[in-house]
């Protein structure tokens, strides 16, 4: 299993979530986060925004589905300008459902 953490624009979240749900990836967790990238935030006139609001989507999928999810997120979250976000992939060894105690997602 892999955990996919996608940091996307807040206004794109619903689109990404809907596209993922269409692809059969309904379960996810979202967090409001602040961050910056290589551009060190954004400068509009005299005001410098050091940390920009983003939304982190976190979902755990089987190894075979990773590519599909990444493609879906990339397609739906892309606008072409700076600040579209990043996707990180990490290993998950075990997953449990608390209600039943079952292993696996």
């Amino acid at each position: 299993m892999k955990m996919i953490r996608a940091i996307v624009r807040p206004e794109k979240v619903e689109e990404v979530v809907d596209r993922l749900a269409d692809g059969g990836f309904v379960a996810l967790t979202k967090l409001d986060v602040f961050g910056r990238g290589k551009q060190k935030g954004i400068q509009i006139g005299p005001t410098k925004y050091d940390e920009l609001p983003k939304v982190m989507l976190m979902l755990v999928v089987e190894d075979g589905d990773v590519e599909t999810v990444i493609d879906t997120v990339q397609e739906s979250a892309r606008t072409g300008s700076f600040g579209d976000g990043k996707i990180f992939l990490t290993e998950v060894e075990e997953a449990y459902t608390i209600r039943t105690g079952e292993k696996g997602i």
């Binding site: 309904v26 967790t29 608390i98």
Partner: protein
């Protein structure tokens, strides 16, 4: 070392923290998150149905949850998972999920210790 990420009910945070502290793992990071599981959130009309087809777009797309992140040594992972599962189990949908991820290294910023001593 393993990172145990538990996504649990909002009102279960205190007793979960107490349960893991009793095992000797008082250090946790807690966060308020929004999420949904296989049931695609919570649907209303008819009340509290869990089937998205019955809901017809009414209801909550995301449910507020608490995310608890803790790093524990390899040999204690099982008991921590058991404790979290027992304290959070109500038998109803929405009890949450636990993920176990590998952690390569841990560093305590104050002293610069690395590895198992740092957690």
């Amino acid at each position: 070392m393993k990172e145990v990420i538990a996504i649990i009910r909002m009102n279960a945070i205190q007793k979960t923290k107490r349960a893991v502290a009793d095992l000797g793992f008082p250090s946790v990071t807690a966060e308020k998150v929004f999420g949904r599981g296989k049931q695609k959130g919570l649907h209303l009309f008819p009340p509290a149905t869990i089937n998205p087809e019955d809901g017809k777009g009414n209801g909550m797309r995301y449910i507020p949850k608490r995310m608890l992140t803790m790093v524990v040594p390899d040999e204690n992972v099982e008991e921590v998972i058991e404790a979290i599962m027992e304290t959070n189990r109500t038998g109803m949908i929405g009890d949450g999920r636990i993920f176990v991820c590998p952690v390569n290294d841990a560093i305590r910023i104050r002293t610069g210790e690395r590895g198992e001593e740092a957690i």
